[in-house]
Amino acid sequence: MTSVVATNQTILVVGGGISGMTAALEAAETGKQVVLVEKNPYLGGRTVQLYRYFPKMCHPTCGLEINLRRLKANPRIQVLTMAEVTGISGAKGDYSVSVKLAPRFVNENCTACGECNKAATTEIDDAFNYNLGKVKAAYLPNDMAYPQRYVIDPSVVGTAEGQAIKAACKYSAVDLDMKEEVVTLNAGAIVWATGWQPYDAAKITPYRYGEFKNVITNVEFERLADPHGPTGGKILRPSDGKEARNVAFIQCAGSRDENHLRHCSRFCCMASLKQTRYVDEAFGADGKSTIYYIDIRAIDRFEDFYQQVQANPNVSFVKSKVARITEDKNGDPRLWGVNTEGYIRYAEPHDLVVLAVGMEPSVKNVAIPIEVLGDSSGFVMADPANGGIFGAGCATNALDVNRAVQSATAAALGAVQVVSKVARGEA
């Protein structure tokens, strides 16, 4: 049975992505007690699934490593993975929260030696790689996974394979009898940092995502470019594994669109500009990127990056919302539309199309198990009416990593204010 030490002076942080980790660390490094719950078996959220950050082209794992070090060094933070908040009751200064813990089937004894993985035979979709690849049913979610412990997929529990996996572990770390459990804990304030999910590209029917193999999303493209992704960092298109040298990026795939997401997702322009760099690094002058856009929103000092990409002769910009995509016999996606700058019609084939899909909250405000105000897109709105609950990061707005961390730091203070009051006996 998992035991959690928490009081009404504890801050509960929901979501272990970069925003949640930041909020938890900032509060803990200010002397507060924190419980951090994450639904994945590892911390880091969507940022770990990115290859590089704009505009520095640096690696998300770098910052993650620092944050993990801060976390390990800090006794005030308790981490619960594979955990989801199912209920919240009470009020500012004294919440009671129920958390559902899914079984990992691997306990603390795990040394990440990997023998269980060797013993496993079943392959399951690799969620970490957006199902672009497969993993064994006993797996380590990613290289920097924290906790550094394997996970066993429920599908093999109760099978001979499950027993084989158990037998393979020298440290009796495999526990197939683990059951789902629900813990109830106390908290004075809650930071809601459940982050975002990519908009479902299949809903943008003219682009035929899911029907045409060589139409993928921007988050999937990150995995293709990552040396630790399914293609070992080679930019190969899904249909035939051919090198994708001529890549199209379609902006506002779902965003700024009253048929889909009303809001502008802010990060996608920069993400695509960044991804043209991946193409450039992979193929140099043999690579070609075309960005189809409405407005390039490279806001504030990101403008520098935009101008650098513009200067690249292998990258072209077309002011146009692509009307539709068809598929040529050889599997090339063909883009149809009109460049509105001077009215030029095009029907352009590419090796690969990357849809710059937008952000929507992975948990809309209405889905939070206690009343929290939200905007028309379901992002949490800051408001006194939310009591001791503070939205952080992409749960509050479509943000890039830098802005999300800023938001999370601010949210942490809100929570600190509440529990400090409790400590002073003022609330």
């Binding site: 029917t205 003219p206 035929r208 598929e327």
Partner: protein, 298 residues
Amino acid sequence: MARKEYAFYPGCSSQKGASASNYLTSVESMCKTLDVKMTEIPDWNCCGASISYAESGELPRLVMNARNFALAEQNLPGQDIVATCAACWLGSRESKERLEHSSVLMADTNTALKEAGLNLKVIPEVRHMVEVLIEDLGYDELAKPVKKPLDGMKFAGYVGCQTNRPFGIAGESFENPMYLDKLVESVGGTATQFDQKVTCCGGALAFSEPDKAQAQIKDIIEAAYDSGAEMLVTPCPLCQANTEVYQGQINKKYGTKFNMPVLYYSQLMTLAYGGTAKEAALDGNVIKARKLEEFAAK
């Protein structure tokens, strides 16, 4: 008492001797088998279609459709209006939307209707025959009466525009609607992978700008052949006429050898339900569907 009853709006082209009379005949046979009662709206009038826009103006067009609503409301209370023609369905549904959205237009409309001694309070639901089949009956029900499945026959399901956009059939995508394929399959036929299923046939431009329209029709027929289809099947009279009757001219112009029959879903269903060539109005096809005629004869 039939299991379903509707106020039927056949539309001009479906009248006896008109360009889609075979549509009407086959729909009647089909509905008979399915025990669906279609009562024609008494003294219904033309919807104005899309093409009348430049002459009609907005209100007169709305009023024409409003008259049909009023007549249905008066004579067939509580029944949904069902149209078989895409243009009729679209024109009526659009009018319904606009009238319900604007009290000004609604008031003006009633002022005008008064001149014809009519009055409109509640606008009935306006639905396409296909909606009735899919939503009120369902594919399983449509499969039940099949006596002679259309085994081994390949059809390209050509949905076209106006049964698909802007309203479309609930749950279907604008780019790749599947209902027509499912209808074909529910009566034992095979639907081919047809990538021009929602391409426009040129609509009214077939009359005013034949060259522009025929260029589009060519793409459609070509794709149908490429998909391995023997016949085209469609839910829309204008699509049917345009894709069927101009094949000869297109052959002349482009040196193609098109000779592909174009049928209505209702014709296929009638045949599968054991109907005769006559009941399915195969004689109404300009390009004869020999294979189906033989099938019907068996």
